[in-house]
């Protein structure tokens, strides 16, 4: 079965979603990510969704939930590189991901995480 790779960069975890997200994949990612945060003692998670151009309400909610789970495990989460069409869709679905921090690209997201959270 497909898995979304999780890369480790020091104390940070980098998740790049480059395939079409389907529900099972999303749930597997949640499982993998939470266990990796615990195993590696990560304090930051960067989710790059720049290649994702279709979302539905489930995936939108899953992104929000993943961020919330990471926060419970004491890891900051930044979602980066959201496409305009995805942003519009999420807003129209009423999912503003209010608890999630966002950045335009990976570079800015990294700055947000390594800059001690002061942005």
């Amino acid at each position: 079965m497909d898995r979304i790779p999780i890369l480790t960069m020091g104390k940070l975890l980098l998740v790049t979603i480059q395939v079409d997200m389907h529900d099972r994949l999303a749930l597997t990612l949640q499982d993998d990510l939470t266990s990796r945060i615990v195993k590696d003692g990560a304090n930051g998670v960067l989710i790059d969704i720049s290649s994702l151009d279709v979302v539905d309400s489930f995936i939108g909610r899953m992104i929000g939930n993943t961020a919330a789970m990471a926060r419970v495990l004491d890891a900051q989460t930044v979602v980066v590189g959201m496409q305009p069409s995805v942003a519009i869709t999420l807003v129209e679905l009423g999912l503003t991901l209010s608890g999630v921090r966002t950045a335009l690209n990976v570079e800015k997201g990294m700055a947000l995480l390594t800059g001690g959270g002061a942005a």
Binding site: V79, V80, G81, M82, Q83, P84, V86, A87, I88, L90, V91, E92, T96, L97, T102, A103, L104, N105, K108, G109
Partner: protein, 306 residues
């Protein structure tokens, strides 16, 4: 009732083509030239083209069926003429009269030619009447469709015109909104803004609503949607240009803008944006002064020159 007698019609009119044309043009000329929209030469050209097309089709078959394939050329000609007139600013009546004004000259000819055959005359009059009704209706339909196209195009242009996104500084965008925000416009505004954020990598965008005449709950909701979408992409939004009346309306309506930075003027918003991106504005004179002082003293002094 079947429309027949095409060949007979063609025969009658073919003999009187020039006369027919002249009479028709006299009738039409009154309408068209009054508006000064088409010249007589062009009109005459159109007429003779139409009459010869009509005669060709009529003489080809005895059955008259406007929907049939052999009428394709006539339909194409009418569509062309109608679309052209729609663009030139003719009214629907004037356009339909292009066809209808031919009816009377035709019937006159018919009566003269078939004075001895009353049954035939009645049949052919019916055929002409029914045929020209169809021609006229078709003309009007095409006219309406062309007008519709013009309106759609104008709406499109208006949408594009009214939503410019300007770059104020490196990493700072401004979106001056003019006019009422409805759902369709919000969509375009949002798309433009988000696209520009991607292109420029801007961290802050200022939405200026000085030109928005009224803010009701719907407009406010649209604004908040835009702000939320920009935030999802990682850009902060500041709403500026809120006039006193609008501030009052917003509060009276109970719209919650508490999680959006708002400023009264674009200038104030720009200053905030500069601060957030780690920049500041100083007087050119003051900077020079400080630089000179610093050079003279041979040291760096970051405090004010005074």
């Amino acid at each position: 009732m079947e429309m027949v007698g095409g060949t007979r019609l063609a025969q009658v009119f073919g003999n009187n083509q020039t006369e027919l044309l002249n009479e028709w043009i006299t009738k039409q000329h009154a309408i068209a030239s009054r508006r000064g929209l088409v010249g007589e030469a062009e009109l005459r050209n159109q007429f003779s083209q139409f009459v010869s097309l009509l005669l060709t089709v009529l003489s080809a078959s005895d059955r008259v069926d406007f929907k049939g394939t052999e009428w394709h050329e006539v339909r194409a000609f009418l569509a062309d003429m109608s679309a052209q007139r729609a663009r030139q600013g003719f009214s629907p009546v004037e356009t339909a009269m292009f066809v209808f004004s031919l009816k009377q000259p035709l019937v006159t000819r018919l009566r003269a030619a078939l004075a001895n055959e009353p049954a035939m005359l009645a049949d052919l009059t019916w055929t002409i009447s029914a045929l020209f009704d169809e021609l006229g209706l078709y003309t009007t339909e095409v006219f309406q469709a062309s007008r519709e196209q013009v309106i759609v195009r104008q709406q499109q242009e208006l949408l594009e015109l009214s939503t410019p996104v300007v770059q104020l500084w490196d990493g700072i965008l401004a979106l001056p909104l003019i006019g009422t925000l409805d759902s369709a416009r919000t969509q375009v505004v949002m798309e433009n803004l988000l696209q520009k954020i991607v292109e420029t990598g801007a961290a802050i965008s200022i939405i200026d609503i000085t030109g928005v005449p009224t803010v009701d709950t719907l407009v406010a909701q649209h604004l908040l949607k835009t702000v939320a979408a920009a935030r999802l992409m990682g850009a902060d939004c500041i709403i500026s240009g809120i006039r006193p009346q609008i501030a009052q309306t917003i509060v009276h309506l109970g719209v919650n803008l508490s999680n959006v930075t708002t400023k009264a003027t674009l200038a104030a918003a720009f200053v905030v944006a500069l601060q957030r991106t780690g920049k500041s504005v100083t007087m050119a004179g003051a900077q020079e002064h400080a630089a000179r002082n610093g050079a003279a003293a041979g040291m760096h002094d970051s405090s004010s020159p005074e």
